[in-house]
Structures are given as structure tokens and as C-alpha cells.
């Protein structure tokens, strides 16, 4: 988001060749093939060439993360996410159609318990995609998200949203097992409140 020049990965900018990451090349080639819409030698070779060119022109620093994907938990994460999207879509639609009523919104602070950038990113993306919540500010230093909640109503609605975000964070950690260290349990009073 913000380009802090003092970040170590900016200082020791990797040489261009280090931008050639096999996973990125394969993904870009797959996108190319999908865009062409047919799987042939022409599209596969063309995709690989374009992918290598893109990686050389726009080199990204190599991400260091120890993912430990647990398929069952990942499935649960996706299923719960889709269910949340459906439920929240109905709620937001209902709020929208009550034309006379002004929604009572809230901006809440959610201080994530893990200190992993990946978890922060995934949680922010997923909360944003679920209707009714919008990330207005994300602090990488403290791993804090500020959410705008549509029609939170009162303190109870706010607490519910906070609980849901913590639950989502827990599901993300269980699914990806990102290099987070253990989830701190010290803040459990926020969950139970």
C-alpha cells in the first residue's frame, strides 16, 4: 500500500533474474491459456514466453512464507465464506430496500491477534468481499483493520461484527497455517464480551 523506502526488501532490491519465480510464471501462463480459451502448443508456449517477459519487466521480491495448507480447514474456510456472502447479501439487500430508514453505521477497530502480513491481507480481502463490511484503513505495523460496518445498529451489532472478524481470522490461520506463530489467547475477553 504505502511504499516505505526504509523497508529492507526495497533496499536490497533483488536482481531481475530473481523475479523469475516458477509459480508466478506458471500462473501467468495459465491465465494466458485461459484467455485464449484453448489448450494448444501455440498458447502454452506463447503463455510461457509472455509470463517470463512479464516477470523480467516487473520483478517482484520473493515472498518468504511458510504455508501449511490444511485442505479440510481450507474447504471449511471457503464454505463458510460463501455462506457468509449469501447471508450478508440478503441482509444488505433488505437494508437497501427499506427506503425510509437511515442505516446506523459504525467504524470499528479490529486488532488482529496474529502478526502475519498474509493473514492480515487475506482477512482484509475476505471481510471486504462479505457485504456489509468495508476496510477503510489497514495498519501493517500493528496488524489492525478498521472496518466500516453498514447498519451495525448498536453496540451489540458492533461486537458481533468484531467477533465474526476474529472467527474469520481463526479460520484463515487454521486453513493456511501461515508463519504466524501461535494465535495469542490473551485477548480472549474480546471474544467473550
Amino acid at each position: 500500500m504505502r511504499t516505505a523506502p526504509q523497508r529492507p526488501d526495497e533496499l536490497s532490491r533483488p536482481p531481475r533474474v530473481a523475479g523469475l519465480q516458477p509459480a508466478a510464471v506458471l500462473w501467468l501462463a495459465a491465465v494466458w491459456v485461459a484467455l485464449w480459451g484453448d489448450l494448444s502448443a501455440f498458447t502454452v508456449v506463447g503463455g510461457l514466453v509472455v509470463a517470463v517477459a512479464v516477470c523480467l519487466v516487473f520483478p517482484f521480491p520473493r515472498l518468504r512464507m511458510r504455508l501449511r495448507v490444511r485442505p479440510l480447514w481450507l474447504g471449511w474456510l471457503v464454505v463458510r465464506f460463501l455462506a457468509d456472502v449469501v447471508v450478508a447479501s440478503v441482509q444488505v439487500s433488505w437494508t437497501t430496500l427499506q427506503l425510509r430508514r437511515e442505516p446506523r453505521n459504525a467504524v470499528i477497530e479490529v486488532d488482529l491477534r496474529t502478526d502475519s502480513d498474509l493473514v492480515l491481507t487475506v482477512v482484509a480481502e475476505m471481510t471486504s468481499l462479505v457485504p456489509g463490511s468495508l476496510v477503510v484503513e489497514a495498519r501493517r505495523s500493528t496488524h489492525t483493520l478498521f472496518l466500516h460496518v453498514l447498519d451495525a445498529g448498536d453496540q451489540r451489532g458492533v461486537d458481533k461484527m468484531r467477533r465474526q472478524t476474529f472467527a474469520l481470522e481463526r479460520r484463515v490461520v487454521m486453513a493456511l497455517g501461515a508463519d504466524t506463530g501461535p494465535v495469542q489467547e490473551t485477548r480472549s475477553e474480546e471474544v467473550s464480551s
Binding site: A34, N105, L134, E137, L150
Partner: protein, 121 residues
């Protein structure tokens, strides 16, 4: 009714539901009072609306090439939408374009530096 008919009907239902969700999003943009609430309408029913429409298209088209393209649309939409809505929401909040009278809780305002160009003092 053959399987093809069932798929066609399901596709039709999906397309109509998706269109309805998009219509509600449009109503929300017109009716909500400030930018942040409108962002909910502009970005969110789209998530389900778009997924349902893509599902309907997949059921109707039934071609691997089209499926690949539809999956790409879904993936890129879902990756980029939160970032776009975040940037717009963040900018509007910092510019003070928020109906604070509609907020029941505001954890953020006091942590931000005061912006002299903000319309509110």
C-alpha cells in the same frame, strides 16, 4: 425433462437472481446517504450477483473454454474489488466525507491526523 433442460432452467434462475441483486445495488447507490454506505452497495451485492450470473452462464454455455474464462473473471473480480473499494473508502474517510451523525461507533477518527483541507473542522 432431460439434464440439459434442468441446466437451462437453473441457468435462467441464476441469471435473473444475479440481475436482481445488481438492481438492488443500483438502488442502494441512489438511496444511501454518504459515500461509504454507497460503497457497500456498489461493491458488495456485486460479489454474489456476479458469482450467480457467472454460474448461470457456466450452466448455459457448458464449454471448457468458456468455463476457464468465467473462473478468471470471478478470481480477478474477487481479488481486485476489495482493494479498489478500500482505496476509495480510505480516501473518503480521510477527506472527511462521512456522515458522522450516522455512526454509532467511530474508532478511527481520533487516531488520524487532522486534515486541514477537510470540510469538517
Amino acid at each position: 425433462m432431460s439434464l440439459v433442460d434442468v441446466a437451462d432452467v437453473a441457468a435462467g434462475v441464476c441469471l435473473v437472481v444475479g440481475a436482481l441483486l445488481t438492481l438492488i445495488a443500483a438502488i442502494g447507490i441512489l438511496r444511501f446517504p454518504d459515500l461509504l454506505t454507497r460503497m457497500h452497495s456498489a461493491t458488495k451485492p456485486q460479489v454474489l450477483g456476479l458469482l450467480v450470473i457467472l454460474l448461470g452462464l457456466a450452466l448455459r454455455l457448458r464449454e471448457p473454454a468458456a468455463l476457464g474464462l468465467l473462473v478468471m473473471v470471478a478470481v480477478f473480480q474477487m481479488v481486485t474489488t476489495p482493494i479498489g473499494s478500500h482505496m476509495v473508502g480510505r480516501a473518503s474517510f480521510r477527506a472527511g466525507q462521512v456522515r458522522r451523525d450516522l455512526l454509532v461507533v467511530d474508532d478511527l477518527s481520533h487516531t488520524l491526523p487532522v486534515d486541514p483541507t477537510s470540510p469538517e473542522k
